[in-house]
Amino acid sequence: MPHIVMESIIKSYGDVRVLDGCSLSVEKGQVMTLLGPSGCGKTTLLRTLAGFVEPDAGRVLVGGIDITALPPNRRSVGYVFQNYALFPHLTVAENVAYGLKVRRRPGPEIKDRVARALDIVSLGPLGDRYPAQLSGGQQQRVAIARVLVLEPDVLLLDEPFNALDAKLRLSMQTELRKLIERLGITSIFVTHDQSEAMMLSDQVAVMRAGTFEQVAPPLAIYDRPANPFVATFIGRANILPVGLRAGAVVDFPAVVAERPDGPADLIVRPENLTLAAGRIDPGTGQSGPPGTVLFAIAQGPTIEYEVDAGFPEPLRVTVNRRSGEVPLAAGSPVSIGVIDPAACRVIERGTP
């Protein structure tokens, strides 16, 4: 039985339906990421789990127990706020001790557990500082220690790395992932950064406008995106209007589809395409349509091409670059090939 279950959560503010029937389950000890563009309802969903938002309909269960009606202070759900929300009038140690004091734990125990929690996030020596005297990364670690010290069943983090610079972010991401793995706390992250989602999570839930578009492990989402929205939100993708005949795509005969003949959309990632100069099969044995190079840019290990292959939008092709290789000039005739036809997705025409 999953550790966290959210059942058809609905929440509206005025006329705006912010959560439109969200259902989600997370296994014990797993890390789930909510990924989606700004304003799609990620924070609201997280706040529903923490009890700050009362859903109009739906249920929230943790460990099989319905907590929908439970006030926030009676839930064992740690929440790391987007801006950390540290108490400015308390020192780092007092911030971390807060939940234990509220629980009326004995003084020596509090001291002990606070010291251990600060050690876990490598803030041992900074216990006497005030939040304003800390860097963004240190503040974040205080916020994490403040909830971890209570050993919650569930850990929720709302865009925890947003305020950090790129370098610090990477190290914090790996640190946090290790920490969560070690403590085995079921966690839900919010992010709008796809690489963060790929890196941190066991499962990714891609959200759009208050609903889930796809919930799956990160690589499964990358390899088999459910629709163009997911395909373009995670990684890049060509969405091509194509025709189907006899169970195969007309322009890319190697790509088969179990769909009726007629119009369809083909999702194919740029790195799953290749090209060769001239009008010859580019060697994959999976030939596609001929085209003309519109634009090319070499990026060290790869070359990014934009090719006019008769589709409404230029086709994007990423090829590996051999040492010394120069990109083909604009206007060069090329042939397009698919590397792995099984990694292409054929979907109904016009799916958003």
Partner: protein
């Protein structure tokens, strides 16, 4: 920095002059009063003809006056406390509450400040008379509390509005109930503002004449009323001496507030 042109300099000079003049207008009377209080002769003159503390001594011997200082101090403490006890929850409702008619309630709570103190004084007197209450210092405390409530509410509201509501949520998330969150998170951050509000109310209650004139006790008058009657039949520098003491007292309170909270908090 760019060199100042002549017109820039002219404007700056003019501005400094004007500011200096305004400051002079505000401060000069106080300084004159303080100077006069040291006059050794029995009538008011400026500049003083010498230096003496005899009028300060005479104040100490005037039982009626020393009593009235005590009355005023007591009244001011009561008014400040009542103001805080009523004003802080009201400010909470005004900032955090969500209920119909919130805007009108705000306007109602702040309205005593728009009214002249005299009106409040007379209204209290009539209101009291209706219930057969005679003017008394208890009535004065009640009337002044109404009059001063907006100070407390406004200062507290300004600070409350500046607090991050996320902190309350964080506190709840860490297990604290509403009361505990108030005691551990909100109140400590509100502290300086409450001190400022209390000090402000105290000063206002201490030197208010307009409300006190109508509602205070006939015996045991508060200081401002006592002074008011004193100036009518006395014109010795004793008046200046007591004023100087009041000026000094206000200055002291403001100094304490400035040191502990910062004066800019009061303005907001």
């Amino acid at each position: 920095m760019k060199a100042m042109t002549w017109s820039d300099r002219l404007w700056t000079a003019l501005f400094v002059l004007l500011a200096g003049f305004a400051l002079l207008l505000l401060v000069a009377p106080s300084l004159v009063v303080i100077a006069i209080s040291f006059e050794p002769r029995a009538y008011i003159s400026f500049p003083p003809s010498g230096f003496s503390l005899k009028w300060y001594q005479s104040l100490l011997q005037n039982r009626q006056l020393t009593d009235s200082i005590w009355v005023s101090l007591t009244i001011s403490v009561y008014v400040a406390l009542i103001g805080l006890v009523l004003g802080v929850p009201a400010a909470f409702a005004a900032v955090r509450g969500t209920f119909p008619g919130k805007a009108s309630l705000n306007a109602f709570l702040l309205s005593p400040q728009m009214m002249p103190g005299m009106v409040i004084g007379i209204a209290s007197l009539f209101f009291g008379a209706y219930f057969a209450f005679r003017a008394s210092n208890a009535m004065l405390v009640a009337a002044l509390s109404v009059f001063c409530l907006p100070f407390v509410i406004r200062i507290t509201m300004a600070r409350l509005a500046g607090l991050d509501p996320r902190l309350d949520e964080a506190s709840a998330n860490l297990g604290a109930g509403k009361l505990e969150t108030f005691a551990r998170v909100t109140l400590p951050q509100l502290g300086p503002a409450l001190l400022a509000a209390g000090a402000f109310t105290f000063i206002e209650a201490f030197d208010n004449v307009t409300v006190a004139l109508f509602t205070s006790d006939v015996r045991g008058r508060p200081l401002p009323v006592e002074l008011y009657y004193l100036v009518q039949n006395d014109s010795t520098p004793a008046i200046a001496a007591i004023s100087a003491i009041e000026i000094g007292l206000s200055f002291l309170v403001m100094l304490v507030v400035a040191r502990t909270v910062g004066l800019e908090r009061l303005g907001r």
